[in-house]
């Protein structure tokens, strides 16, 4: 039994260095971060009540502008989500309907609840150096307490004070900026959102129109009216 106890102690210790080096050691520019992003995206949303998967585009401008486009298998637009600060607009072209409100008003049962964390997920600046590994506790955006785990200076995982977790992987270097091509969000509400980004363009100019919903002829409803995806 002593051997068993010893093994149970040794194995985690042996595994620890392996875990801490799972992200690559990239020679990124200190202080460089994603200011703007434009990328093709594959997204899947899984929860107890809802499921959705699809492809599209993701456009982001730091700190709080985001435009997500989800396409149907035929290439038509299923959903456009625009986030600006605390405001969010969910535009469904096939229904000629948009749902507008504050992000924290997203109904828990809508299947879109996880999107309230997207700003938090996108806030994943690298550490000052690629020699930094470990976990720090800090006050993140909107003064939310969070723990951030770095591996080789790259954000590997974030955990909010409420138990929401984001995992970052498949890093690459773009113009000196480290960029995670895969992000998985597990909310405390047991919703799972997986984003896989492809052909990213980082820190290129983006026109304001990209972040502005076109609502002419669109019926606008409050977020509380949103049912399902």
């Amino acid at each position: 039994m002593k051997w068993l106890s010893l093994i149970t102690i040794i194995i985690p210790v042996l595994l620890l260095p392996a875990c801490s080096t799972s992200l690559p050691r990239l020679e990124f520019t200190p202080g460089a971060s994603v200011e703007t992003l434009s990328a093709a995206v594959s997204v899947s949303i899984t929860s107890a009540e809802h499921g959705m998967s699809g492809s599209g585009f993701l456009v982001y401008r730091r700190p709080d502008r985001l435009h997500l486009i989800i396409l149907s298998p035929f290439g038509t637009t299923l959903l456009e989500a625009f986030a600006l600060g605390e405001q969010i607009t969910l535009l469904y072209p096939s229904r000629s309907t948009a749902y507008v409100g504050r992000i924290d008003e997203l109904p828990l049962t809508s299947g879109m609840h996880g999107w309230r964390f997207m700003r938090w997920v996108m806030d994943a600046e690298p550490a000052a150096s690629n020699s930094i590994s470990g976990t720090v506790e800090r006050s993140g955006i909107q003064d939310m307490r969070e723990s951030v785990t770095y591996e080789n200076g790259l954000v590997a995982r974030k955990k909010s004070q409420f138990g929401d977790q984001a995992f970052y992987s498949r890093y690459a270097l773009l113009n000196g900026v480290p960029f995670a091509s895969e992000v998985v969000l597990l909310t405390a509400g047991e919703q799972r959102i997986r984003l896989v980004l492809d052909e990213p363009e980082v820190n290129t100019p983006l026109e304001q129109a990209v972040f502005t919903p076109q609502l002419e002829g669109i019926t606008i409803l409050p977020l509380s009216d949103l049912r399902g995806l």
Binding site: S42, T46, S53, F57, P73, F74, T76, S96, D198, V210
Partner: protein, 206 residues
């Protein structure tokens, strides 16, 4: 979401109808639709490779995807997109299922029976004698390439669906223009007809 899939099912039906087109000369829209119906009668299944390009009106970027499509009478349709956008969609009459390559985000939508594939094809079991009231239809012929344009009237999401095909019935391209100016182009290669597709070719899981 229901309406989204209704549109998908409509587009699916248009796609399937035109996949089997064989017109030998320029024709008025009504004759063209009737010819399509006749050709469809000789098809039991169809499959092709596909590339898809999506151009967004507000961005100077194009999303490119590739995959395969399959159809089998009377009511099965399958579409699979390759990585990195791997997604599968299966339509069995009025039941649509969709998931990605990891079987995440599984979506299942049941349409009303009147919107199922079976219903679409039963409508085509009788000759087309009048043009659909809610569509503007036009056709042109360039060399041996026909282009048929179908524009739903009203202010819905779809402004126009264009289908290009050769006189021998080979579907070449399908273009969907949305009201906001976005354009999706599907180009087909290696079309295969009546190759003996089975239920196994229409499963969500690989």
């Amino acid at each position: 979401m229901m309406r989204i899939f209704r549109i998908s099912s409509t587009l699916c039906a248009i796609l399937l109808i035109t996949c089997s087109t064989a017109l030998a000369r320029p024709v008025p829209p009504l004759e063209g639709l009737e010819a399509l119906r006749k050709v469809l009668a000789g098809i039991t299944d169809f499959s092709a490779d596909m590339t898809q390009e999506k151009k967004l009106s507000v961005m100077k970027r194009t999303l490119k995807m590739s995959g395969t499509v399959r159809f089998r009478k009377p009511d099965q349709f399958y579409m699979a997109l390759n990585p990195p956008h791997a997604t599968r969609m299966v339509l069995n009459d009025a039941v649509i299922e969709q998931a990605n390559d990891r079987q995440e985000g599984h979506t299942r939508v049941v349409l009303p029976p009147e919107q199922g594939l079976k219903q679409w094809f039963s409508k085509l079991s009788v000759p087309v004698t009048s043009l659909p009231a809610d569509f503007d239809i036009s056709a042109d012929l360039t060399n041996s390439l026909y282009t048929l344009k179908i524009a739903p009237r009203g202010t819905g999401q779809i402004r126009e669906v264009g289908i290009s095909f050769l006189a021998d019935g080979t579907i070449k391209r399908m273009v969907i223009v949305e009201r906001n100016g976005d354009k999706a182009t599907m180009t087909f290669k290696n079309p295969r007809r009546n190759s003996g597709l089975t239920d196994r070719d229409f499963q969500l899981t690989p």
